[in-house]
Subunit: 203 residues, 2 copies
């Protein structure tokens, strides 16, 4: 349900086409907190039109023709109802963290370091964008929007700090000490070697 609402939210800024909405999710404000592909956007625009929440206003001037959608009064109503509803706590799916949590001693830690370096590069790019964007002279950002940009900035900086610390710890082989009350690391390594031995025997 919330994917449709985020389309309404984008249309609240100004009338937009499907293409514009995609761009907004790709390089702009909304992209930091949400994402969506054409295969979702166009069918949803159609659905929202059928529900009477938006209507198409065939474009004026300029070379290219595009189909801009604008909120109806019901659309505004729906949008503001959504704003007031308690937001769901974000569900995180972070493959790097998942991999790191299940990394083990028989794996080459330099691979994990290179995962961290890749993450660092992307995070730095996004941080650069987030810093420049509110003063680029042509993007619209409301005062409320600035609050969420501050969030992005803080969060990305913290992430970079952690990445650097972690790379450092891995290189110097000074990882923090975990907790293993039942000797699980050893058990795990035994299970693994046992399983891989079986593989050799079968080949």
């Amino acid at each position: 349900m919330s994917a449709e609402n985020s389309i309404l939210a984008i249309l609240s800024f100004w009338p937009s086409s499907g293409y514009d909405i995609k761009a907004e999710f790709e390089h702009k404000a909304a992209g930091l907190y949400w994402g969506m592909s054409y295969g979702s956007i166009y069918p949803k625009l159609k659905k929202l039109e059928e529900e009477g929440l938006i209507f198409p206003m065939e474009k004026e001037e300029e070379g290219r023709k595009k189909k801009l959608y604008e909120l109806t009064s019901n659309g505004w109503g729906e949008f503001e109802k959504w704003l007031q509803a308690t937001p769901a706590y974000p569900v995180v799916k972070d493959e790097l963290l998942m991999k790191m949590s299940t990394w083990h001693e028989d794996m080459d830690s330099s691979v994990l370091i290179s995962h961290l370096q890749a993450r660092k590069a992307t995070t730095e790019d996004i941080l650069k964008f987030v810093k420049e964007w509110p003063t680029n002279g042509n993007s619209y950002i409301s005062n409320y929007g600035m609050l969420s940009i501050r969030y992005a900035e803080k969060r990305l900086k913290t992430e970079l700090e952690w990445i650097e610390e972690s790379i450092e710890a891995l290189i110097k082989d000074k990882l923090p000490t975990g907790q293993d009350p039942y000797g699980n690391t050893d058990k795990m390594m035994l299970r693994r070697r046992e399983a891989l031995k079986t593989l050799k025997e079968n080949n």
Copy 2:
């Protein structure tokens, strides 16, 4: 594809049942970076078994019977291949941030404050858990796992700081200044009032 890999990853710790895996995603390490419901887990276990990556080992002792799954040698291979593949950059879907970015002046900001307070409460709970967990005396956390716990801790603390700053700014009505080179805020308010006027006329 990665959902299956995260099941393999959990099984790498120790043989587990579908129920165990769910629990792991709910209250433990993995839950901070991933999530999954029974409706996904059981069919995936079946599929992984068919693919020869895991096999069931009917439970030993204890009262309840459960079906523990263990990695095969191919399962270990697949798991470690996955560990080495470059992780995708996490896709964030944060409804609170999306709402905040599109909040506007005709909406009661006390509602936004209460959204922030709800988020704060949940974040505090999770932070508390994350802090206690590595020293609870019975959970297994590898040294690599500790690195990712540090991430969670840092990130949650940063989030709390930002929430407090933001509540403060909203209460005192001292929001940071955004950027509005084409007078969009005014245009938006006009469009909105125009649309809502139409609604009144039709009722």
